[in-house]
Every structure is written in C-alpha cells, then in structure tokens.
Amino acid sequence: MKENVTSATAFLLLLFLHTHLLNGQSAPGKPKIEKCRSPEKETFTCWWKPGSDGGIPTNYTLFYRKEGESLTHECPDYKTGGPNSCYFNKRHTSIWMVYIIWVNATNQMGRSMSEPRYVDVTYIVEPDPPLNLTLEVKQPEDEKPYLWLKWSPPALVDVRSGWLTLQYELRLKPEKAAEWETHFAGQQTQFKIFSLYLGQKYLVEIRCKPDHGSWSQWSPESSILIPSDIKTKDTTVWIFVAVLSSVVCLIIVWTMALKGYSMITCLLPPVPGPKIKGFDTHLLEKGKSEELLSALGCQGFPPTSDCEDLLVEFLEVDDSEDQQLMPNHEKDHPSQSMKPTHLDPDSDSGRGSCDSPSLLSEKCEEPRVPPPTFTIPEISEKADDPGTKINHNWDPQSINLEGKIPYFNAIASKSSTWPIPQQSSNHTLRSSYHNIADICKVALGTMNVPAVSLKKEENHVLNYSTTIDAVGEKTTDKQNELEHFHSKADQDKTWLLPNEKMPFMSPRPMDYVEIHKVNKDGALSLLPKQKESNANTEQASTPDISKEYAKVSRVMDNNILVLMQDPKAQATVTFEESAKETPQPLQHNQAEKNLSYCTSPPGDCRLQTGGLDYLDPTCFMHSFK
C-alpha cells in the first residue's frame, strides 16, 4: 500500500513539474546585489542583478536594516539610480554604520531573496571624475613653454568643509602614442607639463580619489595641439651666435695672414743659438776678422784658432828667465796691430811675476817684475805671431764696459788657454793652463771689462784694469788682478800667481808649455814641454829649479806661494816677495786686501814646487780669502 502511495505521489509531482516546465514559468531566481557606491559619502546607490525571472514578470524589492536598529526598511528610491538600483538619499544615509541590504525577487511562482550584503558607506566612496578640465599652452619669456592643466573637483563632493579630501591624478599622451604618461597631482587642481613634443596633439585625462576611498573613473578626453613654432627666439639667438663666431674667425684668419710670421715667432720663439756676449755677429758679415777675433778673445789672427781655451786649469811654475816674459809682453803689445793704442806704452805693462807659473821661479831672481801681459790673443792658437793676435782694443782711456763684458765672459768661460808660444809654432793651442797675466791682459784689453764673468768683482777688475797700465809699479796690480780675476772667474781652474816667466806652450793640448824666451817684440817663445830638458834649462838661474812646472800648493803670508813638490823637479822653490816696492803698491792697489798675491818676485823669490803638477784650487782659493 505504501509503495503505491509513494509512487503515485512521485508521479503526480513529476507531472506537475512537467506542466510547469512546459509552461516556462518559475519562481524568480536569486538576485544578487552587485555594487553599492557613494559618490560623496552622503548618499549611496546599490545595484543588483536579477536572477532568472522565471519567464513571468518579477518584482524586485530591496530591504535594508541598519546596524543597531531592528526595523527593516525598504528602498526609498528605485528610480534615481536606474534600473535595478536603489538610491539612498542623505536622509536615509548614515555613515559609520553598517547597512544590511537584501533584494527580494517576487513573481507569481514564488519569490527569492538575495544574499544580504553588509554595506558601510564609509568604505564605498567613489566620486565622479573631475570636471572642467582646461588645457593651455603657456610660453613665458626666456623659459621653456609648458602645458598648463586646470580642473575642478566633481560637483557633488564637498571639499570645502573638509568632509572629503580629494587627490587627483592625470595622464596624457600624444595622440598616436601607445602608452599614457601618468602624473600624480596631489590635492591641487592645476598642473604643469614641461616635456612636450612640439607640433603634436596631446590627449589628457584626469581622475580623483577621496582620502579613504576608490579612484573615480577617468574623465573624458581633452585634447590640445602644441604649436610647433615655439622657440623662434632661440633660433634667432643661434643665428646671431653663428654669425658672430664666423666674423670672429674671419678676423682671426685675416690677422694670421697679415702677421702670421710675427705671431708665430711670438708664440714659438726661435731657439736661441749659442751666443757669445759681446760678440757682434755683424762682425762676421762685415768681415773684420780682427775685431771678430778680438771679440772672440783671440789674439792675433790665425784662422784656425778657436780662441776658446782661455781659462787655465792649472798654472805651471817654471823658472825660465823672466826676460822671456818681457819679450812676450813687448810682443804682445805691438802685436796688437789692430789697436796701436795699446794699453801700456810701458813695455813692462802686463808683465809680472804672476804671468805664469813657469816664470815664477825665474822671476824670483829678477828684481824686475814685468807685469803680466795678458795676451789673450796669444792664448789662441797663434803660433806664428801671437802678438798680432793681440787685438785688444786696449784703450786705457776708453772705458767701455758694455762691449767688453761679453768678451770677458767669453774668456772666463773658456777652457784653459795658453799664451801662444811665439816660436813654437804649430801648436795647437789646447793648453791646459793659461797665463794669468794673459787673462788680466784680456781683461784690461777689453778695458773695463769688469770681469763680468767674475760677476762680482767687476769693480775690482775695473780698478785693476786701470792700474795695469802702469807696468812698472803696477805689475803686482796686474798680477793681483789676474789672480783675483782668475780666482773668481773660474774656480775650477787652478791658478798660480803668474811669475815673471812666460809659460811655455806645449804643442799638445793640455800640456804645459815652457816659455823659451821673449824677444824684443814681445813675442813669447815657448817650448814644448818635452823640450824643456833641452831648452831653457840653462836659462834657469836657479839650478835647483827645473823647468818643470810646479803647482802651487798654498799661499801663505799673503806673499808666499807655496808650490807643490814636483816629482821631477826636486827643488822646491819658494816664491817670496822680496818686499819690493813693486809688490807693495800692487798689493795696496788691490781693492781687496785679502788677496794674497804672489807678487812679482824681484828675484829672490823662490819657487816652491810641489810634487804635483796641478795646483789645488781649493787651497789656493782659501789664501785669497
């Protein structure tokens, strides 16, 4: 029985169902509340989505209940929000309160109810897009143009009272660009865009967001065309700059063309060649060889002489006869055929004991002290006629410093030179030491060449030069001068007070030359060193004094020249001052009293020769100080 009832019921139900289905009517489907939104946090709207309506007209009603209340209310406004919406106006809206909202769908067949939705207006704020977006291209002076955007907040939002605080965001792009360029504008209602492409049409959109809500939709597009003729000013400026620079370049080129060479010489000065001070290059042009050579410091005129070795490295002491010196002197003076106005009419001028070390020993015995004659020309390689080489313009009266200074320098800087032996011809004048007398002569000859090479003893040389004329009384002067000059001029070289003997020239460079004799012409005959054993040894009055050259080891007592022991010459000769009047004035004539001169030895001087051939300049120099 029961089975029959059950089956019958099921059959009926199925029949009923089929009937319904055939008719197409059913209860409405469950609606669903899709979205609730408040544009200004004062009202809100909810939209629902209906379910299936079951084929028959369905009525939707919305109900809500507020938090803390038990009453159920129906939607106050179904129309304002559009179909399937419910609009809650200000009166019905409460903030910070949860709304429980649901929708009922009702039709003939039945009803259905949506899921309740819990809505707090606080968190569903979504404003409308901003309004009145205006675009303007602004181009201030001296500045780049920019796009100026301006807008206003949406109409419903109350920003003035602070109920809502809006923040804006805009985006723009050239019309044909693919991506937008987004800018956040904060709470301001204007914005400037600087990076623009000229001649392009730009599209701009803007949206806003409340302080604790959702972003609005983008506003409708606004477009603006950026003009392309901006920055004409810059172009003008560039044109002006280009013209100006071209003008400047033209001027420079023109100046270079006109004065190119002088400018080049100014910018790149020519490398100065070696210049001899006091040496007038015009002399070369003029062809006055005498003057030229005198300028060069050569006495006489052998073309092959280079007149460079003027400074002596060491002095040799030789005890040749002093008379040899005299002829040298005499020779020297007349040899200056160039300038007949010789320095010293006195044949004794320039002679002295300080002439050469080789003469010292010889001069010791000779009371007469011929002043040293600085025959620089002799020093040059003029074996033939040293005298002729002497081309000093020894004008005792003419005191011309300027011209002679370089000459003097030339002398001082030269290597050792030798007075040229008169007879020993074909000597290459590469002697290693030179005659102080010669040097002094040169100094004098150039007359007030104030020993520029000495640099500091100009005055002294001046003094000496003037005094050198007095041959007789001032031999010592000369000697002093020479010594002084030598010592100061070239400290590398060794000096020895010139004795009255003339040094001999050696035929070899850097060798000693022994003065053989001095003839009446003043020419100095020199013998090579190797010959000294043959020549002039008999002239040495002092037997113990060999013709070997001795070196001064030291000077003592202001007057005594101590020579080094010469290994060959066993005898030591002490060169002493014989306290003659000649040495005295010489010494006194010196401006510097500290000069310890080996004054011209009248005769009883003895030359002390050391063993060495060279004079140690240091000990020599000390004596001078």
């Binding site: 946090k41 004062e42 938090e67 803390g68 200000k90 809206t93 409460s94 903030i95 910070w96 309160m97 949860v98 429980i100 309740p116 819990y118 707090d120 606080t122 109350d158 920003v159 003035r160 009272s161 602070g162 109920w163 605080t165 302080d211 604790h212």
Partner: protein
C-alpha cells in the same frame, strides 16, 4: 608752537599704539617651538596639520590591518554578521553624517575625539599583546598594531594640546568608554578568539575613520574657515 608739539606727541603715541596692536596680531603664527622652550606655543594650524596627519595614518594602518586579517582568518566564518553593534565606543554619541557633524560645536567635537582616543588606549595595548601570542602571528599585523598604538598616544597628546589652546580651562574629566573584550581575546576557542580579534579590528577601523573625518572637518572649519 605748542599745538605742534602736542600734535607730534599724539601722533607718536598713536603710532606706538598701532604698532603694538599689529605686533600682537602677528603672534598668532609662531613657529614650531624649539625643544626645551618653556613658554613656547605651537600654532593651532600646525597642531591641526599634525593631528590630521596622524589620524589619517592611523586609519590607513587600521584599514590595512583589517583587510589582512579578514583575508587570512575570517573567510567563510561569517564574522561580519556577528560584528554588528558590537563596538565598545558605540555608547559615545558621535555624529553619524555630515550635517550632524557640522552642527555640533567644535569644542564638543574636540572632546568627543578625545574620548574616543582615550577609549582606545587599553584595547590597543591588549591587541598588541594578544596578537603576539597568537598562533602563527603574522608580523605585518603585529607591526601595524604596534604602530597604531604608538601613534594613537601621540595623537592623544596633540589633541590635548589643541583642546588646551582652543578652550583652555574647560578641562573635562577623562571620560571614555571602557573596553571589556579582553577575555574574548584570550579565549581558548579559536573561533571565538578570532572573532574577538575581528571585531576589535573592525571597530578600530571605524573609529579611526571617525576621528580622521572629525579632525579634518575641524581643521577646515577652524583654520581655513570652511574653505579648504
């Protein structure tokens, strides 16, 4: 002669008076006080700017914290249905819409803000404590809770200063709503405990938004003369 002198004196006096008046007016916008200054007075505008900044920040943190908690722990539990009218500060009669908020007097509104802030001192403290002990406590929620607690104290101090400036002397007793949700936070039942947290965070989010909104209203009303 005499009248000229008197005129001169009078004009000088008037000048002095005017300058004093003008100078007194310019006192309003003083700069921020250097530390250690005794009689320094920060301007009301600066105080409100700072307060609004803090309240905005606190609400942002609360909102994030709630959303995070909701995603992690409250899905499918239907907490929202139960968290109705369960905030401990609902007894405080706060304005519920813009009109009510604009009608209330600013002093009352300031006091209301103070009350709400004070009401949250204790719950925030316990929230931090309990979040730490929570199983698999997420660091972000804990950090946010700690930050909110700290900033709430600062906001309270600032608000008290504002009240002291706006209507000094009218110092009410410290009225606030007591919170009694601690036992729920410490319940052994996970569901109950989680709902307690959820409720607390939900109420915190709402109240922080209220405070923020009230302060912004007050700022625009008092500082900018309703023309923000």
């Amino acid at each position: 002669m005499y009248t000229k002198r008197s005129l001169l004196k009078g004009s000088l006096l008037l000048l002095l008076l005017m300058s004093s008046v003008l100078l007194s007016r310019s006192v309003e916008s003083l700069p921020i006080c250097p530390s250690g200054a005794v009689n320094c007075q920060v301007s009301l505008s600066d105080l409100f700017d700072r307060a609004v900044m803090l309240s905005h920040y606190i609400h942002s943190l609360s909102s994030e914290m709630f959303n995070e908690f909701d995603e992690r722990y409250a899905q499918g539990r239907g907490f929202i249905t139960k968290a109705i009218n369960s905030c401990h500060t609902s007894s405080l009669s706060t304005p519920e819409d813009k009109e009510q908020a604009q009608q209330i007097h600013h002093e009352d509104l300031l006091n209301l803000v103070l009350r709400v802030l004070r009401s949250w001192n204790e719950p925030l403290y316990h929230l931090v404590t309990e979040v730490r002990s929570m199983q698999e406590a997420p660091d972000t929620i804990l950090l946010k809770a700690m930050e909110i607690e700290e900033q709430n104290k600062r906001l309270l101090e600032g608000m008290e200063k504002i009240v002291g400036q706006v209507h000094p002397g009218d110092r009410e007793n410290e009225v606030y709503s007591a919170w009694s949700g601690l036992p729920s936070l410490q319940m052994a039942d996970e569901d109950t405990r989680l709902f307690a947290f959820y409720n607390l965070l939900h109420c915190l989010r709402r109240d922080s938004h209220k405070i923020d909104n009230y302060l912004k209203l007050l700022k625009c009303r008092l500082i900018h003369d309703s023309n923000c």
